[in-house]
Amino acid sequence: MSEAGTMADDGAAIGGGRAHSRARRLSIEGLNKWFGSNHVVKDLSISVEPSEFLVLLGPSGCGKTTALRIIAGLEQADSGQVLLGDTDVTNELPKYRDIAMVFQSYALYPHKTVAENIGFPLKVRGLKPDERAEAVRDAAAQVHMEELLERYPRQLSGGQRQRVALARAIVRRPSAFLMDEPLSNLDAKLRGYMRAELKHMQHELGVTTVYVTHDQVEAMTLAHRVAIMDEGALQQIGTPREVYDNPANLFVAGFMGSPPMNFIRGSIENGRFESGGGVGVPLEGEGVGGGTAAVMGFRPEDAEVADPGTGLFDTTVYAAELTGDVTLVTVALGGDTSLAIKMPKEYDVDFDRNVAVRFPLERGFLFDAASGERLSARFAVPPGAA
């Protein structure tokens, strides 16, 4: 099988990562996992292309770790398959799967030095000490840890431990990497730095990678493709841009972005989206009949605050915060709806002022309130508005 061919066939860009000679496709099909009566992973099917960096994104407790552990072989799925390349590894022990994993806690062996930690996967495979030493040095160089090989994990900082864990994963040149929130134990600054390093390294090595996180910024920046999970089920999979620009449902729309998408609850009546607070927008497309509860959504950065009467609806300013690069304006709409709008950082406004909110209607989204699914109906852009 030509791996290059596979990559080209796939719509998802692989980000130009070097195809690693051992990189293999990793796919899971119809995974299900129950813990007692708790259905933690629901019919999960994902295919990760060779050399692809796939991020599994979802809120805490949605089953990401469980899915990853099933791939690693640490947990047994109740149904479904794990395929590495063309081989079915569903019933293999972890040691026979050619997969390396970086744990959230790093799981460094406290009684082994950095060199011994990194060399452990080689040691258990029976490599001779001198062969091991060379591979360990190479892997350590990759993560800039050559100087600290004789230290013990407890003598390292958080970021350094993280690198050792990475080196231990790359030293054996596995077919795939699994990483479970590897950056979540680092402070914010280090996290940003390590993110770049991680991305570069994956690019350099070109190993198929599944990366689990609950942080959407991490997902957006690292991923070739993002798979978003909620309550054990896959919600959407696509490139970060696709997922951001074209969310498949309310959950994805609300999960991506910071601050997340604004939602206004309402209903579709006679071809118009109507909501309390004086919001009413005409619709076009299918299913604009009427009577269905719907949710309108738009992103904070797409909207702007304007003088009263000039926007879609009028409201009052609840708060305005300068976050540095933007001013975040929060406006209240009705009882419990508040909307966030990003304005240029020069923008200043008094609290409780009357303002209008407007956004380009083609950038608006419409969701079914009951199912959360994206509706095919769109807001009718008045001719001449563009």
Binding site: H20, G73, Q76, N91, K95, A135, A139, A141, Q142, R173
Partner: protein
């Protein structure tokens, strides 16, 4: 980031799958046992259970045997091999007769009194010391300690060799210490810290009881307390004190100090802080320690052997004393006494075994 050439991927040898016999010992997946493994594991576990339980079973059936059943060689199953008979148990409840078991009652009462009192005292004193060592800084002067030891040697020599009255010697020694402590303390400024005191207290456990028991015997003889409950209670308290200090120190040290500090800001005294804040928080540790000390005191043999003759005799001494004699060993009677001796501790162990393992571990892990 510096340009590092991607190392040429040297493919690792894939792990060879187990073959032949070893396949039997390879689990199908993580968290399960292999077929061969589970046979071995359960086999050994059952074997060891039998080794552990069989003595209990043998004790139980022996207590139900008539002398003739015992002497006819081994029989294993009541009603099948022999007819169970309650004669040994009946003797126990027959207080009127001068049966061998009627004498059991006093030692039993003694054992209960001694074990409970010494445990209570030991846990109280030990926990207070452990707490103090975990929270208050002590700096006794090395000079004072030297003076104290020297005076103690002199006192011991005076009492033992020259026959000076114990009370007089102790009083003179104490007075001398108070006088000398101030002046000597001025010259030897070096002091020891909490860790040293803690180590000193815990290290007392190394002391084989036989080293201390003869002078203790003589001391109690001097004050006429031989063969009393109090003598044994006090001795047991000291013997088990190191264990309490050791285990409880770790428990107390693991309690966040903020709670106590806020209690003290609220105006609570140290004593109040200890009994109202710290003790409730260390309940689990206290329970485990108490149980351990209780069992140790209940089963103790050597000290009781020295310090008791008749009045304060405890159960282990009674049992040991029944070993031998003119009529030979009364196996059935001994079995009954041992059973009633181990039933209370077994019951407690069954109820609280989680506690114990936790308590012991905490000490062992922190060392």
């Amino acid at each position: 980031m510096a340009e590092i050439p991607a190392p040429t991927p040297a493919p690792l040898p894939a792990r060879a799958r187990a073959r032949g016999l070893r396949r039997w010992f390879e689990p199908a997946r993580i968290g399960q046992m292999s077929r061969g493994g589970s046979i071995v594991v359960y086999g050994l576990l059952v074997l060891w259970s039998a080794f552990v339980l069989f003595p209990f079973y043998w004790l139980a059936i022996t207590s139900l045997k008539l002398p003739v059943d015992v002497f006819d060689g081994p029989s294993f199953l009541p009603w099948v091999d022999f007819t169970p008979n309650l004669h040994a148990w009946a003797d126990l409840l027959d207080f009127s007769a001068k049966s061998p078991l009627a004498e059991t009652l006093t030692p039993y009462r003694n054992s209960v009194i001694i074990a409970f009192c010494s445990t209570a005292l030991c846990v109280l004193i030990g926990a207070m010391a452990a707490y103090a060592l975990a929270r208050i800084e002590y700096k006794p002067r090395l000079g004072n300690i030297l003076v104290f030891v020297v005076l103690m040697v002199v006192t011991a020599v005076a009492v033992g060799v020259y026959g000076v009255d114990l009370w007089i010697a102790a009083a003179v020694g104490g007075a001398l210490f108070v006088l000398l402590a101030r002046s000597v303390g001025r010259y030897f400024k070096r002091s020891v810290g909490n860790a040293d005191i803690l180590f000193w207290m815990i290290s007392q456990r190394i002391l084989p009881p036989v080293v201390a028991v003869v002078p203790i015997y003589m001391m109690f003889q001097k004050v006429g307390m031989l063969d009393t409950h109090l003598a044994i209670i006090l001795t047991y308290t000291v013997v088990n004190l190191p264990i309490v200090v050791w285990l409880m120190h770790d428990f107390f040290a693991s309690i966040p100090i903020d709670l106590e500090e806020s209690a003290q800001l609220d105006g609570a005294s140290r004593l109040m802080t200890f009994f109202e804040i710290v003790v409730p928080l260390a309940r689990a540790g206290l329970a485990a320690t108490t149980l351990l000390v209780l069992i140790l005191s209940w089963n103790e043999y050597l000290v009781a052997l020295f310090l008791s003759t008749t009045q304060a005799q405890t159960l282990p001494i009674l049992v040991a004393g029944m070993n031998g004699g003119e009529k030979g060993i009364l196996w059935w009677t001994m079995a009954v006494v041992i059973i009633i001796m181990i039933i209370p501790v077994i019951a407690m162990a069954l109820l609280l075994q989680r506690f114990i393992s936790k308590g012991i571990l905490l000490g062992a892990v922190k060392g």
